[in-house]
């Protein structure tokens, strides 16, 4: 789940619901994050300093109290490392005609 959340935050800051929606979107609905799982993971990512909290931007029309999350430089490095590892795994899988 952590990878999905980091991926959702890679292009822009989002609030919790926004993360869940984004994940659902880019996985084509295959991954649906329940609130417990989502916030449990967010909590751990915050503790690991891979993401950080930031106040909601001014253009948020829904709720000014909403908390937004941003990926940290450390988070970004971890994400790209993880993603390239996965890419490598994917290459191997392709070479072996697994996918």
């Amino acid at each position: 789940m952590a990878l999905h959340i980091l991926l959702a935050l890679a292009d822009r800051d989002r609030h919790g619901l926004g993360i869940a929606n984004e994940v659902e979107t880019f996985t084509g609905g295959r991954v649906s994050l329940g609130p417990g799982t989502l916030y449990g993971t967010i909590k751990r990512l915050l503790e690991l300093k891979l993401i950080e909290e930031r106040p909601s931007p001014r253009d948020d029309r829904d709720d000014p109290r909403r908390r937004y999350y941003r990926i940290t430089p450390l988070g970004r490095r971890s994400l790209s490392q993880e993603a390239s590892d996965l890419a490598h795994v994917l290459d191997v899988a392709r070479a072996k005609r697994v996918v």
Binding site: L17, P35, G36, Y39, G40, K43, R66
Partner: protein, 902 residues
């Protein structure tokens, strides 16, 4: 929001409670918002979608809540600063019940404060090293007469030099005595009387205290005929001579004889002590051929053991040297032995019983304090039983719970300990002014690492002790209780433990109160004693004539006659008399008597009497009736004085062969009954090596030296036959204290260079006898009062707890028809059991410590039934009184409310 939405939202909130609190606080609102959005989306898609949404959500929440809870628990255990968290938690818990916390801290402060104060006294008296070089090697030596069961006697002047010459187990031995009368210092201001110690040459080698200035007295100073030298005490040097270092090598007049100042000793030396708080102000060498003074026992001695020698070896050697002396000089030393004691033990001897008393009282106080705090915490543990069960059910380990309880107890204990230590530091300043010098001369109680360490150990120790009770109790809770109920069911074993605690408090309070009662009764008895001489309106003024100017006994007599005449002519003065040892003045003289017609007893086995030298007007001035014969008269004056020779070789006085009045004495009727039951007048006796002295009068017996013992055997000589340079002038007048100035001027009109010593009324002197017993009874009384307060708190607390815990039962009983009286009886039974058990234990303890108190009691037996019964009744009434409020509260329980709370 529809009703269905509200329902689902509530269900969701309930589910959220499964998460750890920190998680919930942080994410609850966001999770709720997400839920609402999702639910709305699902609702739009239809029923199936909504059902799927709920299934997913519940599954998600259960699994993640479980995950989070496990995570949180793991973190709690991993956190390195668990102690800090425990303390914070403890603080939070304590703040929730500030009354209880304040009570416990107050009790602890009282306990720790009182006990630490007593410890600091013990520390100052017994534990701190004496301020001398290697003090453990210094011993005090005493002569012993095992056959007469005399354990400590002054040392024979002929014996000490033999010890010093033969003892191999000592690096140095030294003897000392006090200057006859006191020393007058006339240089550097008004004449003053000083306390001078006369020491042998190695005295300062034994004490091993480096001088502030100059050098100590050395063996070559202590030779007959050596140039007289003096070593001053630092305080005298500073106060009298302004701390002038050029004093060294100069000559000052002591007893009108020039002495060269060779050194100044630091204030801390404070040795020897003439009495508690009275130490030598200067030191001079004895410089006399003491080995010739056979049979004169007036020396004290100290020694420095060789480093490789222990006390046993030294004592063995002293015994063998003494045996050799006794074999060589049986007439003077038969039956004499010698023994050494560590100096500290020797000096603290008289304080020991009081110290033990104090420590015993303090131990009682600590026990009561602990018991009370344990009781309070136990009561609280009962009320928190529910909390403990819930926490256990939620996965807290028993260890965590126990640790938490212990940290709470320790936090309380340390807070109380800090407050108590502050109290003890304050008390350390106050106590020395309260303790009579007769018991301890305390300058200040040092608060050193020992005292602080003691307070710390005491606080933590009591914290652990009273912390364990609730833990044991909470362990039982985990085994018996059900998690669903918060109600304290009164497990009999637990309440029994609390009953024992309170019974113990009653017992301890009883021990202290009965001790205080006995001491108070003893004090009252002491006040009732009639000293049998006039104490009201008599002033005593100590005078001491310098032998250099008053060489001749006739000069001494002339001086006292003249002073008596001048003081006697002062307005309001009814009688003037003189005595060498004023009654209750702190000193007296005992002398061996040989009664004519009786076989000469073996040396050292002669009967002895108290002897006083008085002026002819003494019996009139003090209102002591002459029962038979006559008092002294001016016609008794002799030229050949003094009568008493102290050793055989001493020369007879001049004019002894001339015709003159015979030696006469007045004796007390106790003396007359003892030696001459069939009539004493005209009978004769000798005192030491005196000529035969004839009894011319019998006076009524007095309690001039001790109120607490039967009148001693007294023998009076008249100053015109046995003049002494040091006498106390007794002035009886209507208001004698106002006359002090006139008396001083009258004395100075006869001798302007004469210093006056102590000026006090005889009543004041007698009152010093009461200081010590009054102090002990006040002290123990204070402890007893504290113990009773603590006991009341204990009984009240326990009964409140018992009543609360049994409220449902009481309600049930009342609903079933029990009367209020029956309920009262039921709860009162608890008190009665405790009182009976406590009183029985307390009485047993009181009786068993009786022998310890016996030495401090006068005319009261330690088993005095009146005191014991009174105290038991009193405490029972107080305990029942303390129980009355909770008991009547229990009896007023409203049955319907009590049962509703079930």
């Amino acid at each position: 929001m529809s009703a269905r939405d509200r329902l689902s939202e509530r269900a969701y909130r309930v589910l959220l409670r499964a998460y750890p609190r920190s998680f919930r606080e942080r994410f609850e609102s966001e999770m709720l918002e997400m839920l609402r959005t999702r639910r709305a989306a699902a609702a739009r898609r239809g029923l199936g979608s909504r059902a799927a949404f709920w299934c997913r959500t519940i599954a998600d929440m259960v699994s993640s809540a479980w995950h989070e809870a496990r995570q949180a628990k793991r973190e709690r255990h991993r956190r390195p600063l668990g102690l800090v968290r425990d303390i914070t938690q403890a603080w939070r818990v304590l703040r929730r019940s500030p009354g209880l916390a304040a009570l416990v801290i107050g009790l602890m402060a009282l306990t720790v404060g009182a006990t630490t104060t007593i410890f600091s006294v013990t520390n100052a008296v017994l534990l701190r090293p004496l301020p001398y070089g290697e003090p453990d090697r210094i011993v005090a030596l005493w002569e012993q007469r095992p056959e007469q069961r005399v354990e400590r006697s002054t040392i024979g002047a002929h014996e000490f030099p033999v010890w010093a010459a033969n003892a191999r187990t000592f690096d140095a031995l030294a003897a000392y005595t006090w200057s006859g009368g006191s020393v007058h210092l006339v240089d550097g201001g008004e004449p003053v009387q000083l306390l001078a110690a006369r020491v042998t040459g190695r005295f300062f080698d034994v004490m091993d205290v480096p001088p502030v200035l100059g050098r100590p007295i050395r063996p070559h100073d202590d030779v007959p005929g050596a140039a007289p030298v003096v070593v001053l005490g630092e305080r005298l040097w500073r106060e009298r001579f302004g701390g002038d270092p050029s004093l060294l090598g100069r000559s000052i007049g002591l007893n009108d004889r020039p002495h060269t100042v060779v050194g100044v000793m630091p204030e801390r030396l404070r040795f020897p002590e003439a009495g508690p708080g009275t130490t030598a102000q200067l030191w001079v060498p004895i410089a006399e051929p003491i080995h010739l003074y056979r049979g004169r026992h007036y020396l004290f001695a100290v020694g420095r053991l060789r480093p490789d020698v222990d006390l046993e070896q030294a004592n063995a050697e002293l015994a063998s040297v003494s045996a050799a002396i006794a074999a060589e000089l049986p007439a003077f030393s038969r039956g004499h032995s010698a023994r050494a004691w560590p100096l500290r033990e020797d000096r603290t001897g008289p304080a020991r019983p009081w110290l033990l008393l104090l420590l015993g009282a303090a131990a009682c106080l600590v026990l009561i304090g602990c018991a009370n705090v344990a009781g309070l915490l136990l009561a609280r543990a009962e009320t928190r039983r529910g909390e403990a069960r819930v926490r256990l059910a939620l996965g807290a380990s028993r260890l965590t719970l126990a640790r938490q309880l212990l940290v709470e107890s320790l936090t309380l204990a340390i807070a109380g300990g800090v407050a108590g230590t502050a109290m003890a530091v304050l008390a350390a300043r106050a106590v020395p002014t309260l303790v009579p010098a007769e018991i301890w001369a305390l300058d200040a109680l040092p608060v050193d690492w020992r005292v602080l360490g003691f307070a710390l150990v005491l606080s933590i120790g009591t914290g652990l002790v009273f912390g364990i009770a609730p833990i044991v109790s909470s362990r039982r809770a985990t085994m018996t209780g059900s998690a669903m109920t918060n109600r304290a069911t009164l497990a009999p074993a637990r309440s029994r433990a609390r009953h024992w605690i309170v019974a113990g408090q009653i017992a301890l309070a009883l021990v202290l109160t009965s001790s205080a009662g006995l001491l108070a009764r003893s004090l009252a008895a002491l006040h009732r004693v009639d000293p049998a001489y006039r104490t009201e309106d008599v002033l005593s003024v100590d005078l001491s004539l310098p032998p250099s100017r008053y060489r001749d006994a006739l000069q001494v007599r002339a001086f006292y006659d003249e002073v008596a005449a001048r003081v006697g002519s002062l307005p309001g003065v009814t009688h003037v008399a003189a005595v060498d040892h004023v009654p209750h003045g702190g000193s007296f003289q005992t002398i061996a008597i040989h009664v004519e017609g009786r076989p000469q007893p073996a040396p050292g086995e002669e009967p002895s009497v108290r002897h006083r030298v008085v002026s002819a007007g003494y019996f009139d001035a003090l209102g002591i009736p002459i029962i038979e014969g006559r008092g002294f008269a001016s016609a008794d004056a002799r030229r050949a004085v003094p009568l008493i020779r102290w050793y055989e070789q001493q020369e007879h006085p001049p004019y002894v062969d001339e015709p003159q009045p015979m030696p006469v004495a007045v004796i007390s009727d106790a003396t007359a009954r003892t030696f001459w039951p069939d009539g004493a007048l005209g009978r004769r006796f000798r005192l030491l090596h005196s000529p035969w002295i004839t009894v011319v009068g019998v006076a009524a017996s007095t309690r001039a030296d001790s109120l607490t013992s039967d009148p001693r055997l007294e023998v009076y000589l008249v100053d015109s036959q046995e003049p002494g340079p040091a006498m106390s002038l007794l002035v009886a007048a209507d208001a004698p204290t106002g006359l002090a100035g006139d008396i001083r001027r009258a004395v100075w009109s006869v001798d302007p260079a004469l210093p006056l010593g102590r000026i006090a009324t005889l009543a004041d002197l007698v009152a010093t006898t009461w200081t010590t017993p009054r102090f002990s009874s006040l002290l123990v009384g204070g402890f007893a009062g504290t113990a009773v307060i603590l006991m009341v708190a204990g009984v009240y607390g326990l009964l409140t707890f018992v009543a609360a815990a049994r409220t449902p039962e009481i309600g049930l009983r009342m609903a079933l028809g029990a009367t209020q009286a029956a309920i009262r009886g039921m709860v009162f039974r608890h008190v009665l059991v405790m009182v009976v058990a406590g009183a029985a234990a307390g009485l047993t303890a009181s009786l068993s410590i009786g022998p310890l108190l016996e030495t401090m009691l006068f005319e009261v037996e330690p088993t005095d039934p009146v005191t014991l019964v009174t105290v038991v009744v009193l405490l029972a009434v107080v305990a029942l009184g303390a129980a009355a409020v909770p008991v009547s509260r229990a009896a007023r329980v409203d049955p319907s409310r009590a049962l509703r709370n079930e």
